[in-house]
């Protein structure tokens, strides 16, 4: 059973068109919810960690939020350089490695 499910699989936005990416998780005793950005041909780059429901974190045009069942990555007034795949992950059972979702591929057009 998948622990992390991301939607949509792909998203195309016009520059300046705000939207949200979803990450739903099915783990008990959440020990962190992680967001990474991955550009083509590169490894994932850490963005945020959220630990408890209600927590929010921001970085430039990105804001991550967390509830007891899901996390949202809100993108406000995106620019073409925000185009990337956004990955969500939770720690594996009793460990520190990460269990990743399949990601959302975001394309922002001028």
């Amino acid at each position: 059973e998948d622990q992390v499910t991301q939607s949509p699989e792909a998203l195309r936005l016009q520059e300046g068109e705000s939207s949200s990416l979803n990450c739903s998780y099915t783990v008990s005793g959440l020990r962190g919810l992680f967001w990474y950005r991955q550009d083509p041909g590169k490894g994932p780059e850490f963005l945020f960690t959220l630990y408890s429901a209600g927590e929010e974190k921001e970085k430039e045009r990105l804001k991550a939020t967390l509830t007891k069942k899901e996390s949202f990555l809100h993108i406000t007034a995106p620019k073409p350089e925000d185009s990337a795949t956004y990955l969500c992950a939770v720690p594996v059972d009793s460990g520190y490695a990460l269990n990743f979702g399949k990601g959302t591929s975001l394309l922002v057009t001028p």
Binding site: V4, R31, G32, F34, Y36, G41, K42, G43, P44, E45, F46, T49, L87, A89, P91, V92, G95, Y96, A97, L98, N99, F100, G101, K102, G103
Partner: protein
Amino acid sequence: EAGVAQSPRYKIIEKRQSVAFWCNPISGHATLYWYQQILGQGPKLLIQFQNNGVVDDSQLPKDRFSAERLKGVDSTLKIQPAKLEDSAVYLCASSYTGSTEAFFGQGTRLTVV
């Protein structure tokens, strides 16, 4: 601070051949991970080291994959013999002990033909 270094960046081999990937983690990071990322998927953990000991290799196909971290720093991942389904990007990541904040290298893209 230097990031996680991996080599080679790309490798093309024929099925049944062998291949090895190398990783140098961030200085001071005792924990090292190898992940496999198939096109269109998220990274999947293959093996985790703590210093030079294996913490988790439950998802490593041990009949063909092997990994070592002899001196607790650099690591090598080997596939022998390779299959077509091994075509993927192999990512190395490292972190401080007890931290889930991992830093990834750029990966090695393997194509098996």
